[in-house]
């Protein structure tokens, strides 16, 4: 998974979160078609000889493979963008385009690393302001979520540090990770940024 942060023209910061999946969709399709042709070809020959029960198994299997490839490849387009600046924290989520967005007041935004009640559930990174909560970085690894919490905490300001006392307050996260700031202007389309 990858996170990058960009300094915007208004001295704000923009964090772009993206899963580390970079499939060549055409190549994936070619391989899927290649597997399907062979698998269905075999199943059709079996059916020709009267062994039709091979066909539904081939169909089920190829459907599962297709779904698996599609889901994992599609996930690569997921983006979450957090803009911090001008007293606002704007969060956008989407796949290729902005599908959901939130705007929080920077001064009242807390960064929370929320430990879940069940041990197997992953720790959530939450931005919280005036009762409104936005979960971030579902596709990030735990370490990266911690690192992002720390960066966001630093960027958003003093209130951010109030939020996550129980689990791992942003300020108390070990200071071993850092997102480097590159002087690039962030574009306004989620898709472009994702590219």
């Amino acid at each position: 998974m990858s996170t990058r942060s960009i300094t915007e023209s208004d001295n704000g910061r923009c964090f772009v979160l993206a899963p580390n999946l970079a499939p060549d969709w055409g190549q994936t399709m070619r391989i899927f078609v290649g597997i399907s042709v062979v698998c269905l070809g075999i199943a059709l020959v079996c059916t020709w000889f009267g062994f039709w029960p091979v066909l539904p198994f081939a169909g089920i299997e190829l459907t599962a493979l297709g779904i698996a490839l599609y889901v994992s490849a599609r996930r690569s387009l997921d983006r979450e963008v957090v803009h911090v600046g001008n007293g606002r924290v704007r969060i956008e989520k989407g796949r290729g385009r902005v599908e959901q967005s939130w705007e929080l007041e920077q001064a009242w935004t807390e960064v929370v690393l929320r430990q879940m009640p069940r041990r197997w559930e992953e720790t959530q990174l939450v931005l919280r302001s005036r009762g409104q909560e936005v979960i971030l970085g579902g596709f990030l690894e735990l370490e990266e979520r911690r690192s992002l919490a720390r960066e966001l905490g630093r960027c958003i300001g003093p209130m951010a540090r109030c939020g996550s006392g129980r689990a791992a307050p942003a300020a108390s996260v070990p200071a071993t990770t850092a997102a480097t700031v590159t002087p690039t202007r962030a574009s306004h389309s989620l898709g472009e940024r994702a590219g």
């Binding site: 990858s2 062979v38 075999i42 199943a43 990030l140 992002l148």
Partner: protein, 524 residues
């Protein structure tokens, strides 16, 4: 753009204890479970082999009745193929493929968890059939009708168990394909992938292609038995020989499913200990793909004796012999890699070298079996048993052992005891030859396979073979002990445990942290 960096060793809020293993989606945990499961199944299947060899120690019926003997031969094969070798390769794939391609985990981690936990479930059903009225399956792992249809209460359970194991294999393969295609580190093009990853990609392709055939074949057995169909019953217009065709259409690629990842392992280990890059990387990739392609068009060499037209015999004979060409390319490349290399002979390398020698013997006896007129003599004799055990034990199993020794430092963070490893290797390699080489002589002399009793002229070589069997079996306990010791402690392993080892997996610390490559490495 810069990605945040990874920090290891801070995972206080991760599940611990039994829950961790039940619900884990971490590829390393699942890989470890696969490997430990396969070791357990290797010991179970090995115990069954010892029952067989104990009964065959001398002529006559000594220990078990013939029907139980047949159950042992059937279950030994099913357990070793579906329980030991395939899960071991899947375990290695789980552990190593994400590390080798620079991915944080498998593409579909939850499916990964599910595909593992189906295995113990499937094997619990399969092994429980031994205690059912009428006993377990006794018709051989090929499950030919009508013999297989004579199985007692166990029959539907066996079919269900094989379906479950098949689903597990398919899900594992789908995950491997999705991971390799979608999660490679930036810069890692297909032709930069390690050979182990390549061979697994092709293996997964084979599995996806042929598993529906197995599923269809065993479902037809089920419907023939319980739903009045006559796919394989001549009385109703069906044909039992066609079962053999479709079974072997699955079965022969299955043989390559069991050996292609082994080729990948050997292609990883030999360069590391020869301290030279692999000779002919591209030709290795193309040879693997060629073997996979040819595996689809050679199936009937398993059934020359059922009667087929001369043209069919010639086609299957020549196409089978053709496989020797890409396999020869591989053996040549391994030898060329070692040529003038600065070789050292640690345990992984010893097993890899033994693989090259002994697998080649299995390959040559395979060529003998490919000759249709000769096969009429060898068919269903111990020569066939010797052949496929040279391929599967000194081939697949030795490669898995080589891989285990090679990557143990990365998995456990400790170096294993080299002295114990060398003992394990030498005892294994000596006894495995004592076990299987005499079976060539028995087969050439005409001893049929799958029999609990035999004529007295076969007594001497059978006795020697059984001694080899027990020696080989007990030598594996050394490996279990070594493994236990290595997990518990030992000399600390460095990130790059072997001087000549190359690849992304050696860039992370030993033991590999629970989460790796949160930030994808860049391959140049």
């Amino acid at each position: 753009m810069t990605a945040t960096t990874h920090e290891a060793g801070h995972h206080a809020d991760e599940p611990t204890g039994l829950t961790r293993w039940l619900v884990t989606t971490n590829h390393k945990d699942i890989g470890s479970m696969y490997l430990l499961f396969s070791l357990a199944m290797f010991l179970v299947g090995g115990a069954m082999a010892l029952v067989i060899r104990a009964e065959l120690f001398q002529p006559g019926l000594q220990l078990v009745d013939p029907y139980f003997f047949n159950q042992m031969t059937t279950m030994h094969a099913l357990v070793m193929i579906f329980g030991a070798v395939m899960p071991a390769f899947t375990g290695l794939a789980n552990w190593m493929i994400p590390l080798m391609v620079g991915a944080p985990d498998m593409a579909l981690p939850r499916m990964n968890n599910w595909s593992f936990w189906l295995l113990p479930f499937g094997f619990a059903i399969l092994l429980s059939t031994l205690f059912m009225p009428g006993g377990g399956p006794a018709g051989g792992w090929t499950m030919y009708p009508p013999l297989m249809l004579q199985t007692g209460t166990a029959f539907p359970f066996v079919i269900f168990a094989i379906h479950v194991l098949g689903i597990s294999s398919i899900m594992g393969s789908i995950n491997v394909v999705a991971t390799i295609l979608n999660m490679r580190a930036p810069g890692m093009t297909l032709m930069k992938m390690p050979l182990f990853v390549w061979t697994w990609l092709i293996t997964a392709y084979l599995m996806i292609a042929v598993m529906p055939v197995l599923a269809g074949a065993i479902t037809m057995l089920l419907t023939d038995q319980y739903f009045g169909t006559t796919f394989f019953s001549a009385a109703g217009g069906g044909d039992p020989v066609l079962y053999q065709h479709i079974f072997w259409f699955f079965g022969h690629p299955e043989v390559y499913i069991l050996i292609l990842p082994a080729f990948g392992i050997i292609s990883t280990i030999i360069p590391a200990f020869a301290r030279k890059p692999l000779f002919g990387y591209s030709s290795m990739v193309y040879a693997t793909a060629s073997i996979a392609f040819l595996s689809f068009i050679v199936w009937a060499h398993h059934m020359f004796t059922v009667g087929m037209p001369l043209a069919g015999q010639l086609f299957f004979m020549y196409s089978t012999m053709l496989i020797a060409v890409p396999t020869g390319v591989k053996v040549f490349n391994w030898v060329a890699t070692m040529w003038r290399g600065a070789m050292t002979f640690e345990t992984p390398m010893l097993f890899a070298l033994a693989f090259v020698f002994l697998f080649t013997i299995g390959g040559f006896s395979g060529l003998m079996l490919a000759i249709a007129p000769a096969d009429f003599q060898y068919h269903d004799t111990y020569f066939v048993v010797a052949h496929f055990h040279y391929v599967l034990v000194t081939g697949a199993v030795f490669a898995i052992l080589a891989a285990a020794y090679y990557w143990l430092p990365k998995w456990t963070g400790h170096m294993y005891s080299e002295r114990l490893g060398q003992w394990h290797f030498w005892l294994s390699v000596i006894f495995v030859n004592v076990l299987f080489f005499p079976q060539h002589f028995l087969g050439l002399a005409g001893m049929p396979r799958r029999i609990p009793d035999y004529s007295v002229q076969f007594a001497d070589w059978n006795m020697i073979s059984s001694i080899g069997g027990f020696g080989f079996g007990f030598a594996q306990l050394l490996f279990v002990w070594l493994l236990f010791k290595c997990i518990r402690g030992g000399e600390k392993a460095e990130a790059r445990a072997w001087e000549g080892a190359e690849g992304l997996e050696w860039e992370v610390p030993s033991p590999a942290p629970h989460h790796t490559f949160d930030t994808p490495p860049v391959v140049r």
